[in-house]
């Protein structure tokens, strides 16, 4: 059922894109003057049209394939979806999303400690003290190696003391 819903949603999105966002600015007049120029909307429109045709065929194929399947109902889908909302995968997605939201503010080191500890715990690590120590050490190691040794720019954070700490780490090497 998820496959069908996803295909339908993708089809709706494609139709919406086709009619609203294929061209978001005016084509320069100088470009339009030459009739041999390929207009900027042609290529995406061809791609979207082909995609829509394929999606429609795929939707019919999915319906045909699942005819008579008792699991192929909205009710069964809702029931199965509960499993996803309780899954570790969703929590993992949320943890990584949180990391992306805080990385600019708190900087790399704190984000790394957060991800290493929380995701490690999520993946079933039971020795929490060991995990906490390892998280701090790995976070510091990654920051020193990438920022200090490899000159990769990592976010230092906007909180003053965290920023100063990141600068201190970078100056270690």
């Amino acid at each position: 059922m998820f496959e069908l819903i996803a295909n339908v949603l993708l089809l709706v999105f494609m139709v919406f894109s086709m009619f609203t966002h294929v061209l978001e600015a005016k084509i320069p007049k100088t470009y339009m003057r030459n009739p041999s120029n390929l207009m900027p909307d042609v290529w995406p429109k061809v791609i979207i049209s082909l995609l829509c045709i394929c999606l429609v065929i795929n939707i019919f194929k999915i319906i045909k394939k699942n005819k008579g399947n008792p699991e192929f109902t909205l009710k069964a889908f809702c029931k199965n979806s509960v499993g996803f909302f309780k899954s570790k995968m969703l929590i993992g997605m949320i943890l990584v999303t949180i990391a992306t939201l805080i990385i600019e503010t708190v900087g790399f080191v704190v984000t790394a400690i957060f991800v290493l500890f929380s995701y490690g715990f999520l993946l079933g690590e039971k020795k929490l003290v060991r995990l906490a120590i390892a998280s701090v050490l790995i976070a510091l190691f990654l920051h020193i190696v990438f920022s200090g040794l490899l000159d990769v720019t990592l976010p230092r954070g906007t909180v003053p003391f965290l920023r100063n700490f990141a600068l201190f780490l970078e100056n270690l090497i």
Partner: protein, 501 residues
Amino acid sequence: MSFGQMFTYGMSAVFGGTQFFMVVLAIVLGTVFGALPGVSATMAVALGLTFTYTMEPVPAIVFLVAIYCSSITGGSITAILFKIPGVPSSAPTTFDGYPMAKRGEAGKALGVALFCSAVGGIIAAIIMFVMSTPLSKAALAFSQGDLFAITFLGLSILTVLDMDHILTTIISGLLGLFLACIGQDPMAGVSRLTFGNRELLSGIEMIPVLIGLFAITEVFKQTNTKKRLSADDAEVDTKHVNTKMPSVKEFLSIKWVILRCSLIGTVVGILPGAGATIASFMCYTMENKLSKYPEKFGTGIIDGIAASEAANNAATGGAMVPLLTLGIPGGNAAAVMMSALALKGVQMGPLLLVNQPEYLSATFITMIITNILMVIVAMGIAKVFAQILAIPYSYLGPIIVMLALIGSYSEGGAVGVVVMVIAGVFGIVVKYMHLNSAAIVLGLVLGGMCEEHFARAYLMAKGNVFKALFGTPIGAVVMTACILMLLSPILRKFIKKPAKK
């Protein structure tokens, strides 16, 4: 540049300054990444990108090529010792490698795997080197229409390779092409499909997308997997593995297997989207059919290991041919490399070998050196593999997430990190929609190039679509081949029906 000059340049690119140290580091990283289940060769290359941001283009390609080659070999270690392929292309190695290991011949199985991997990789590197220069010279004479047809061929081949899921493969390819349309169009610079988001004006950031699709998606998938591999799970004594190279007699008995599979592996690697996994399965099946003792395949014979390992390593060299000569990646890992080098201003394709032949020589020498060095490194790693495997996924998974974060942040800043997470979640949706992620990536990487070539061909043909596509003999032949491939499911039905009658 003469052969001698190219050879000298390649050697200096690998051995100059601290470069050799970086190559060894890349081989160690690649072998360990490849050996760890849940870390694919593409993910290894994507994570390797993190180390190359501040490198010059040539050292960067040397580093990434070394990771790529060694990760494919690393996959055979777990395949033989644990019956779990470290990378998908090592799956056929389990068929004979594990039974041998269970018989107490783990060292011999590993030795054959490493030896055949090295030979396969070296043969492919030589073929790549020999083919690349004439191919890129020929490509220089291609018209825009020809280039469009060849780029389009890269996408069309995917449908033939996955005959059972042609429709979903086409949808995936088109989805990739659609994503490539986002941003300013290549000819007039008009913004398209950005939905008012200024960050999307320059198009979708390729590196965060690739890192998201290949690293983050895999970690998300593993989060739900309860089973974890440990040295204690094995029915084989993994703590005392001494790799034994094949004897002269053993080598002579499999010499044709190695040669055949290396050649076929290289050819399969050249095909966009095919790659190491298809090569190893194809060669294993072929050798089973050609063998004088097919009944012994799967019971633990060195022929099976040789077929699989020579083929999958040869495919790595093959994948570099279309990348270096035409600017078309031969697979996901090559697509990651192409995106990384594009960031450094390197434009892959026929002009690259004319203007900067040092790339070819650096790639060639790296592949040769890596394939030799990785035997030594993998022998060492196999010895301590039980200890490496003791690293639980609860530590490894978050480290992969952090490396992915570093890679995405270095490339696209905070926006890059957001794109990476979206791509990671999208990868899960793709999995449940039964779409083909390789086709999406190829569509995304080739989309801009495809449109640009077509727009130029259309302009040169003065608005005549037919002339733009079929105006030259090469274009006509390649486009016809593409159409036949795309129509193959319908054509197959027509061909099968009379046969039944």
